[in-house]
């Protein structure tokens, strides 16, 4: 299984909670482009089988393979947040970053031919709009350590209460 090695926050999806409604994609595309178009969303839902549903956005890998793969140094990673920024002047839409991403989290904008990557709505005070809108609270912006802490807490409860 491919796992991110990020120490940074990124948007995760709990597949048990996700119902596959795609509202995250509408909201993302609207926030970023002003129109509703799931092809332009930076988070993508996937229903691999009837009951296997989840959503995927950039996982802010350390030593991000997409940044390394970019032949034109158009991608840079913010050392504080882990967010991958795309330099529109340098990106030529070659898609090497897409090849390098194990999570399928990058897409090329069909109109501008530039790579587009989740930036966690860093310019918005209330943070990622997909997280705000998710009706089932399946999406979260957390670090792997935060998720691990929660898993331990849940485990402790289960083992102590035996439920």
């Amino acid at each position: 299984m491919v796992t991110s090695t990020s120490k940074y926050k990124y948007v995760t999806c709990d597949p048990d909670k996700c119902i596959g409604c795609q509202l995250c994609e509408y909201i993302c595309s609207f926030t970023k482009t002003g129109e509703f178009n799931t092809y332009r969303s930076r988070i993508r839902t996937i229903r691999a089988e009837e009951i296997l549903i989840t959503a995927v956005a950039c996982r802010t890998c350390e030593n991000a393979p997409c940044v390394i793969a970019c032949t034109r140094d158009a991608l840079t990673q913010d050392s504080n947040t882990g967010i991958i920024h795309v330099n529109a002047e340098r990106c030529d839409g070659c898609a090497w970053c897409i090849e390098a991403c194990d999570f399928g989290a990058i897409s090329i904008n069909p109109a501008t031919k530039l790579a587009e990557i989740c930036d966690q709505c860093e310019d918005l005070e209330e943070g990622p709009q997909c997280v705000k809108w998710c009706p089932k609270d399946a999406l979260e912006l957390t670090t792997p350590e935060q998720r691990a802490q929660r898993a331990r807490r849940k485990l402790a409860k289960e083992e102590v209460l035996g439920s």
Binding site: I19, C21, Q22, E35, W133, P135
Partner: protein, 628 residues
């Protein structure tokens, strides 16, 4: 225009030609979308008296006004053709991605004419149309067909509406499936099959823009938030299967082909039992925050591995109605219908007719010979393996499955003509469409609602059972208010079916499932999407016009007052057990209720529509053709 492209795509399967029809904004303001626009397209594109399984019967797809926007539960489309089951208007709705893909491809509607000489799929790739060979898809189930098309085209975002083996073989209640949801009733699958059309696939890459995105976003967010609260709890937690115990208590849970309204095994087929033992995942249609679909699987037993979404109507038809109290069997039966591409309600109610006909000695073991059981089998009520085998035989039109594939009305007519019997007395249908899981003997307001339904025996186009069940009226007697209630309920439902919005959102506007609660917000949603200036009355008119165009279609096809009828059993055989025992809807009562209903609609005593009424609605050309 916002919210619409103004374009209807026409596709002729006989000539492989396509053309674009542009419609004026005024036309959209009258017919909006969903079942209303689909039926209007049918009205415009069919010859009167057309054989439903001939090339002349068009497939009319109409998108929703809110498809592709974040308006909760707005991702739905309407589908209309002349129904092979009823010979009248066949209109269905289905949710999820297909409608959204179609919206993004830039089409408000699609009309498919003619028939192909070999099996094909139609691929609508934005503004291009491809006719693709479907020989490799032939015989595949609905879900497998969708996956195979995505694999073939190499794009996960391609969405398809497909038929299964039942549609290919011409089962008259075969349906059309997209994204695991069905345009379920009235036999669309048979119409598609008659055209050798295995699937319509769509890839839409354009964005959807609306007139006032800020307002639309704000309203949508509010509704989405509200939809996580008490007003949809029924649908989110147990799904509609929560009805089982309630209906049983009311004596309205159709049991053993509607012989009784209480089922001794109700606990074991309840929504609660399903949730505790077989639920595997809740899923939603695209654009829906509610997620009512309770995916359930059989973990063990002879049908281990069977999995499907379970809701009340399919559950009643294939559980209590067949005398089956094992949900694993019910899951298998519904899965057989869903993957085979046929209506699990009509399927269950047709199997129950066969079981009763067997138990009464008219059918014998001999009649049930098939490849699996060459000596035949004995389909007593409660016989799980017999029910599953019969459902598969219907899907494949094998042996007696061929007779049953025609639905209860035709099957009983054929048997009665050949054997001099009276099996029509327990053929549970109205206008040829099998009855729903609300027994009208204990729901007198609903009895007229279902009798006058334009598409036949249906719980979805009339919610007139609601005042009966809620105790707003006495459900066992009639009075002169019932015609008005039935008419009003039908027009209320038609608003939702036309936008379309899923009715499960109906209480999320202000908490009440009424016009006062919903219409003002719906008007705001319409205006924010389209830039129009709709008010309360305009929303009300959406439903009236939708219902009127469906009725007008039926009148043009020769509908008569006598066609508004109930199954014989509901008029003559009282139940002996439970809270609704002893009641029937007599012919006298029914005729009186019909009088009241036609009067409430402003129609003639014969149920025809006065010209003036149609002109009032702006339906001048309809007035010209069928107004009196």
């Amino acid at each position: 225009m916002y919210g619409y492209s103004g374009k209807i795509l026409h596709i002729d399967l006989s000539t492989r030609k396509t053309w674009v029809e542009e419609k004026p904004e005024s036309w959209y303001k009258l017919y909006i979308g969903g079942v209303s626009m689909a039926t209007r397209l049918l009205w415009e594109n069919i010859e009167v008296g057309c054989d439903p399984l001939s090339p002349g019967n068009p497939i009319c797809i109409a998108n929703g006004i809110f498809a592709g926007t974040p308006v909760p539960v707005g991702g739905k489309y309407g589908l209309a053709s002349k129904s092979p089951l009823t010979g009248l208007v066949g209109d269905s709705l289905s949710g999820s991605w297909f409608s959204i893909a179609l919206k993004r491809a830039g089409w408000d509607g699609v009309v498919i004419h003619g028939a192909s000489d070999k099996w094909i799929t139609v691929f609508i790739d934005d503004d291009r149309v491809q006719f693709r060979d479907a020989s490799k898809l032939f015989g595949l189930g609905t879900f497998a067909t969708e996956e195979a098309i995505r694999a073939e085209l190499g794009d996960d975002q391609v969405r398809s509406a497909t038929i299964g083996p039942a549609g290919e073989k011409g089962v008259l209640f075969a349906n059309v499936t997209n994204d695991g949801r069905q345009a379920g009733r009235t036999g669309h699958g048979a119409v598609w099959g008659s055209k050798k059309l295995k699937a319509v696939s769509v890839r839409g890459t354009h964005g959807v823009t609306v007139a006032d995105p800020e307002t639309l976003m704000q309203l949508s967010f509010q509704i989405s938030e509200t939809s996580q609260g008490p007003y949809t709890a029924k649908y989110r937690i147990l799904g509609t299967s929560t009805n089982v115990l309630n209906m049983n208590k009311l004596g309205l849970l159709p049991t053993r082909n509607y012989q009784e309204g209480v089922f001794e095994g109700a606990e074991l087929v309840s929504g609660e039992y399903l949730d505790a033992h077989y639920k595997v995942k809740k899923i939603a249609c695209a654009q829906c925050p509610i997620a009512c679909e309770q995916m359930s699987a059989a973990p063990d037993g002879p049908y281990k591995g069977a999995m499907t979404g379970v809701e009340y109507e399919c559950l009643f038809a294939n559980g209590p109605n067949l005398g089956i109290s094992d949900l694993r069997v019910v899951i298998k039966l519904i899965e057989t219908c869903d993957q085979g591409g046929m209506d699990a309600m009509s399927g269950g109610v047709t199997v129950s007719w066969a079981m009763e006909t067997f138990e009464r000695g008219i059918f014998t073991k001999e009649d049930f010979k098939c490849a699996k059981y060459p000596e035949g089998f004995e389909p007593h009520f409660g016989n799980a393996e017999a029910a599953v085998t019969l459902m598969e035989m219907i899907r494949d039109r094998e042996g007696i499955g061929d007779l049953l594939s025609k639905g209860t009305r035709r099957a009983s007519q054929i048997v009665d003509a050949e054997r001099g019997t009276e099996t029509y007395k327990w053929a549970m249908n109205s206008k040829g469409l099998e009855s729903p899981g609300y027994d009208a003997r204990g729901l007198k307001t609903f009895s007229v609602g279902v009798a006058v339904g334009t598409r036949g025996g249906c719980h979805n186009r009339s919610a007139a059972y609601d005042p009966d069940i809620q105790g707003e009226v006495d459900r066992f007697s009639i009075d002169d208010t019932r015609g008005e209630i039935a008419a009003s309920s039908e027009e209320y439902a038609a608003v939702y079916d036309t936008l379309p919005l899923c009715k499960f959102i109906r209480r999320c506007f202000t908490g009440k499932a009424d016009r006062a609660g919903a219409w003002p917000t719906i008007a705001k949603l319409i205006n924010a999407t389209t830039g129009w200036n709709f008010g309360y009355d305009d929303v009300e008119l959406i439903g009236i016009r939708a219902h009127t165009i469906k009725k007008a279609f039926n009148i043009r096809e020769g509908w008569k007052r006598a066609d508004d009828d109930l199954p014989y059993r509901w008029k003559h055989d009282p139940m002996t057990k439970g809270a609704s025992a002893g009641h029937v809807v007599t012919d006298e009562e029914l005729e009186y209720l019909k009088d009241l209903y036609y009067a409430a609609k402003g129609w003639t005593k014969e149920g025809l529509i006065p010209k003036a009424k149609l002109l009032e609605l702006g339906m001048d050309d309809v007035a010209e053709e069928i107004g009196v």
